[in-house]
């Protein structure tokens, strides 16, 4: 063991001990507490409140409500971070294209058959997670990442070229992804635009009406709780995340020979 490594280990141990000491002195209060923090109580009680329409977020699920309504801006920019990472990766891979001359190899026939079966089953599960995002745990990102399993499996089991031969090319996925992102953005400023047209005060990321902004997305449609903008956000996010992952995995599975033709 070298001297530098010993230094690193010792400093890390000191770091851990000081953290643990501070926590034991009550740096975080009693863990876990009996009552949640007061802000959390407000979130919990105003997540769904049909009797006070100006102080609610119209969904049963508090996490989705926080993610897309109370703190919608964070999630919007989080999507932007994810988008930025993908764009940066595309920028690294700019000019790389996949030739479809070689045949895809893939795995054994047993795996292929079962994967073909699951390609029907899994998107159904994912779509239900996305549609019920405001009622049960789940939402756009969760559904998108569940649906990604299909893409991973197809790419791994059948081979990348098979996917491309089936017609799922890079521009199409990019199109899908951009549509999802633009949908998120338009949902965010939707009420502001509507407010400009009919002359009502409205806020960015507004979902339900507020005391001084009397305009809202529909909360119910035919006795079904749709949760206003939550459903729209979840759907667009689902599309955007799935397409984003598909794009990334496609870039990853391009073979080295193909890449090296363009990059160094």
């Amino acid at each position: 063991m070298k001297k530098s490594e010993v230094c690193v280990i010792v400093s890390i141990i000191i770091f851990i001990f000081s953290l643990a000491y501070i926590t034991s002195l009550g740096g975080l209060g009693y863990l876990p507490p009996v009552d949640v923090r007061k802000l959390a109580q407000i979130y919990l009680s105003s997540t769904y409140n049909p009797f006070e329409p100006t102080n609610t977020s119209s969904g049963y699920e508090s996490v989705t409500a926080i993610v897309w309504d109370f703190r919608g801006l964070d999630t919007f920019f989080e999507t932007a971070v994810f988008y930025g990472a993908i764009i940066a990766s595309i920028a690294v891979y700019r000019g790389v294209s996949i030739s479809t001359k070689k045949k895809p190899i893939g795995m054994s026939p047993i795996a292929k058959t079962i994967t073909r079966l699951s390609t029907v089953l899994i998107p159904t599960v994912a779509a239900s997670i996305a549609f019920h995002g405001h009622l049960t745990p789940g939402g756009g990102f969760q559904a998108g990442s569940v649906a990604t399993v299909v893409i991973v499996l197809i790419v791994m089991v059948f081979g990348l070229r098979k996917v491309i031969l089936k017609g799922l090319t890079k521009p199409k996925i990019l199109l899908l992804r951009s549509l999802g992102l633009v949908g998120i953005g338009l949902t965010a400023i939707g009420l502001v635009l509507a407010g400009l047209v009919i002359g009502v005060n409205a806020y960015i990321f507004q979902n339900q009406a507020k005391p001084i902004a009397h305009i809202s997305y529909p909360m119910w449609i035919d006795d079904i709780l749709v949760g206003g903008s939550l459903l729209l956000f979840n759907l667009f996010e689902f599309v955007a995340v799935m397409a984003g992952f598909a794009l990334v995995l496609m870039l990853f599975s391009i073979e080295e020979e193909e890449v090296r033709k363009v990059i160094k």
């Binding site: 699920e61 996490v63 989705t64 997670i129 745990p137 789940g138 939402g139 990102f141 969760q142 990442s145 569940v146 990604t148 399993v149 991973v152 992952f245 995995l249 990853f252 599975s253 080295e256």
Partner: protein
């Protein structure tokens, strides 16, 4: 009674996660390290489940058990399998 078992479960899981993380970092073979980190992620997912965060579990399992090992395996396949000496 049921709480005691839940808590025992939580303790077991957190200790297993420490061992898995340690082996993942120490291991020289990257594939093995990735598999160990998958164990660690599964343990964390259980912690999230017991701590009543189903949303987090739904997003964490795909990301940490599914996508991150896939990415790391892609990287390992395209680079070197063994690290260090």
């Amino acid at each position: 009674m049921i709480e005691i078992f839940t808590l025992a479960f939580l303790m077991l899981v957190s200790i297993a996660s420490v061992i898995a993380a340690f082996k993942a970092i120490i291991e020289k073979d990257m594939v093995r390290a990735i598999v160990y980190s998958a164990i660690q992620s599964a343990m964390y997912a259980l912690i999230f489940y017991v701590l009543m965060a189903p949303d987090i579990v739904l997003v964490y399992i795909p990301v940490s058990v599914g996508i991150t090992p896939a990415i790391l395996l892609f990287v390992t396949k395209k680079t070197e399998r063994y690290d260090g000496d």
